[in-house]
């Protein structure tokens, strides 16, 4: 496994294959990239409004639906102006399409 271990107990940003962006503390993972995130929030991007933060609590994401797990640079993250960010939500990934 390509060392997600290094991210355990760190803040991570997960991009899922349905196009969502979820930030949380990585609590666990396994060989098929099932992951557990604590204190999650979803970051909902929209072209007309700033980024909406939706609290989700404790989340278990099945490996099939994971695209990217990124380590969040806390300092840089807290300097971002989410209220002013405008972007299309990420597209969904359709496997085999």
């Amino acid at each position: 496994m390509s060392e997600i271990q290094a991210y355990v107990n760190e803040r991570v940003l997960v991009v899922t294959s349905d196009g969502r962006v979820i930030v949380g503390t990585l609590k666990g993972f396994d060989q098929v990239t099932n992951i557990v995130l604590a204190d999650c929030q979803e970051r909902i991007f929209s072209p007309d409004d700033g980024v909406e933060m939706a609290p989700l609590g404790l989340y278990f994401i099945r490996g099939d639906n994971i695209a990217v797990v990124g380590l969040v640079d806390q300092e840089q993250d807290s300097s971002l102006q989410f209220g002013a960010l405008r972007a299309q939500p990420l597209p969904e990934i359709l496997h085999g399409a």
């Binding site: 496994m1 989340y59 639906n65």
Partner: protein, 117 residues
Amino acid sequence: MLPLSLMNTAKGRPIQVELKNGETYNGHLMQCDNFMNLTLREVIQTSADGEKFWRLSECYIRGNTVKYLQMPPEILDLVKEERFQHRSGRGGRGGQRGGRGRGGQRGTWGGRGLTLN
């Protein structure tokens, strides 16, 4: 911590399951296995658009249709407690699922059951 042991710990508690097709199921987790097949009791099913609701007394969800599970935050602490109990109970190695994984060629995974995060 392994995701599937967290799921096991959530047995008997209320969880929310979102399927790949966007439907959600809220109910008490009764059974689960390593394929992530689940049975829930006292379920509220919500359609993908959030418009329609159904009450089901019981339902079975095939693991490969699951996208996310949302669980009560307290179970994170319970997993840790359970693991300690397992360890003191049988001299330490491995936990519930010692035989998992794919044979011997991947030695790096051997000690995984013991990591504490």
